[in-house]
């Protein structure tokens, strides 16, 4: 039992680390890929969104306010229809109110945090992948502060999720196999090494017996000098004390 539980105590952490490293490795592949994928997807969406922005800003440049843009509804609707993945496109005025929309209505809660400050305030674009969709929001520049606004674009993440699932499906068996193999090889290896370790320990035990019994034949490199020294010291002390060291096989004196 003790040999087994001892091996286990060593195997478990070993296998745990190896597995963890494998999982982390797999996670890395997955995460990096997702990042690249998102970048490509967002750049594609950005392309379409920039086109809409240019169209809308032509009107804004004439001094019109957002709600006066007559072509805005058509721009938004036709863009949404072109690609089935588009969930919604909204044209927003400077106060954050939705003036034109195509697609499903969006509650403000699903907008990413801080969108007002970033887009309406600091006039910077916002691109995120949230738990339910891709979200792009870019400022629309008007002639006066209150004729500016923003364009909000939501795109389904189904395609993205499908691709990532494919990746996961491809990676998962590999990782599982790697872990399984590591566990098996780990256990076999540790048990085997433990056997060797025990053999060596046993060898030391036998050596001690032999030295104590005085039957060892010291032949250079097999000798365990420290044991020799210890036993010699023991005998010396006993001799000085005047009583010979009683010797008997292991376990007694």
């Amino acid at each position: 039992m003790n040999k087994f539980s001892l091996s286990l105590r060593i195997v478990l952490p070993v296998v745990a680390i190896a597995s963890f490293a494998i999982v982390f490795n797999g996670y890395l592949s997955y995460a990096k890929f997702e990042k690249h994928l998102s970048q490509v997807e967002l750049s594609r969406m950005r392309f379409s969104v920039d086109e809409m922005k240019n169209n809308l800003e032509t009107g804004l440049r004439l001094g019109l306010q957002i709600r006066a843009l007559s072509n805005a509804q058509e721009i938004v609707t036709s863009s949404a229809q072109k690609d089935r993945g588009v969930l919604s496109i909204e044209v927003i005025d400077h106060e954050g109110k939705v003036i034109f929309r195509s697609g499903a209505p969006v509650t403000e809660k699903t907008y990413p945090r801080g969108w007002r400050t970033a887009v309406l305030g600091r006039q910077k674009p916002l691109e995120t992948l949230s738990s339910d969709a891709f979200f792009l929001m870019i400022p629309l520049v008007g002639m006066t502060e209150d004729s500016s606004g923003a364009l909000a674009f939501r795109y389904s993440r189904d395609g993205h999720d499908r691709t990532m699932q494919g990746v996961l499906r491809a990676l998962f068996p590999l990782n599982a196999i790697a872990i399984a193999l590591s566990v098996v090889i780990g256990m076999v290896g540790v048990f085997w090494l433990m056997r060797g370790a025990l053999r060596r320990i046993h060898g030391v035990e036998q050596y001690v017996d032999k030295v104590v019994a005085g039957t060892v034949t010291t032949s250079g490199h097999d000798a365990l000098l420290e044991v020799d020294a210890a036993v010699a010291a023991a005998r010396e002390v006993a001799r000085v004390a005047g009583t010979p060291l009683h010797q008997s096989p292991a376990g007694g004196v």
Binding site: E57, V141, M143, T144
Partner: protein
């Protein structure tokens, strides 16, 4: 007796204090409408005024507009200033350099008796507020005036021309009697050296009274055509604007691509293309500044003089096909195309 005197003293003091306080308040401006805006125009109502007035209408801000036209006669201005004062207007709107200078005076030479220093003034259609001596710096006039400049910076104009199609030779036609025009030619000269294109100057000949000769226009254009420029540049020049039909149609007949810095030559003329400040937008921006002042949110000296945040690139496609000189694909896509 003593009590009475003290009471009168206190009442007097109170009255004086209240009066002084009320006076300062009115100098800043009341915070509620209906507001009175007195508009002094140079040559009648233009789309700038339309944009200006529309701004308030669309936002339901109650404004009473009192519109007066000097009909190109600046000498009528003092009389209008008196009228504005009598009507106790909240803000003055002035159009064009001559009127603005007459109303506000040049910095360093302001006469409170002649010029308006106590009523806020918003100006539009002043080509160069600094050149006209109205302000030293755009960030603050340091007095009771602010406004909108409608002129597109020269480097942006040159980029716009290059975007249509790259060029090496630019001809400029102008009225030498107008200071704005002379100034923009000077700017063109400077930038031609920096950007490495050739500038050819064609001033319109003047008569004995230093007025430009409209009859010389075809001749000038012929000479320009003979010099074979890549483009003909028409700046913010009132004389040429007044004669826009003749100028642009003659140029078109000679197959000269004409760039215009003002909107009117494109919408109401046959210029080929231009990067312009739409007049309506100029009016709207001016109105937004006026609105800040009327609502007491800012003083004129705290509002910078600005140009529009972005300009309109306009292309007259019918002219392009007539002279067979089409814009590059980029311009064809983002410009406002008039056909």
């Amino acid at each position: 007796m003593r009590l009475d005197r003290r009471r009168w003293l206190i009442a007097g003091l109170a009255g004086v204090t209240t009066g002084a306080w009320a006076q300062t308040k009115s100098a800043v401006a009341p915070t509620r409408g209906p507001y009175k805006i007195f508009m002094i125009l140079f040559r009648g109502e233009t789309p700038v005024e339309q944009g200006f007035m529309e701004y308030f209408r669309v936002r339901n801000i109650p404004v009473e507009f009192i519109v007066r036209n000097v009909d190109r006669d600046v000498k009528r201005v003092p009389g209008l200033i008196d009228e504005a004062r009598r009507l106790r207007v909240d803000l003055l709107y002035v159009w064009g350099t001559p009127v603005t200078v007459a109303v506000c005076g040049k910095t360093g030479k302001i006469d409170p008796r002649k010029h308006v220093t106590d009523i806020p003034v918003v100006f539009t259609m002043v080509s160069s507020p600094e050149g006209a001596g109205l302000i030293k710096r755009r960030s603050s006039s340091e007095r009771n005036i602010t406004g909108v400049s409608h002129v597109v910076p020269i480097d942006q104009q040159i980029s716009a021309i290059k975007a249509y199609r790259p060029f090496q030779r630019l001809a400029v036609m102008f009225n030498p009697a107008e200071s704005n025009s002379a100034q923009s030619v000077a700017e063109l000269r400077e930038i031609s050296l920096k950007s490495g294109f050739t500038l050819m100057e064609f001033p319109v000949p003047l008569d004995d009274r230093k007025a430009p000769l409209a009859s010389a226009i075809p001749d000038v254009i012929d000479r320009i055509a003979a010099a074979k420029p890549d483009y003909l540049y028409i700046g913010a020049d009132s004389f040429l604007a007044a004669n826009r039909k003749e100028v642009t149609e003659t140029a078109m007949a000679r197959r000269l691509p004409v760039y215009s810095a003002t909107e009117v030559m494109l919408r109401d003329g046959k210029a080929l293309f231009g990067l312009v400040s739409p007049y309506k937008s100029v009016g709207q921006l001016a109105a937004s500044k006026a609105s800040l002042i009327l609502q007491g949110k800012s003083r004129p000296q705290d509002i910078p003089v600005e140009t529009l945040p972005s300009f309109s690139y306009i292309v007259n496609m019918s002219v392009a096909s007539r002279i067979n000189f089409y814009p590059s694909i980029k311009v064809a896509n983002f410009a406002e195309v008039l056909s």
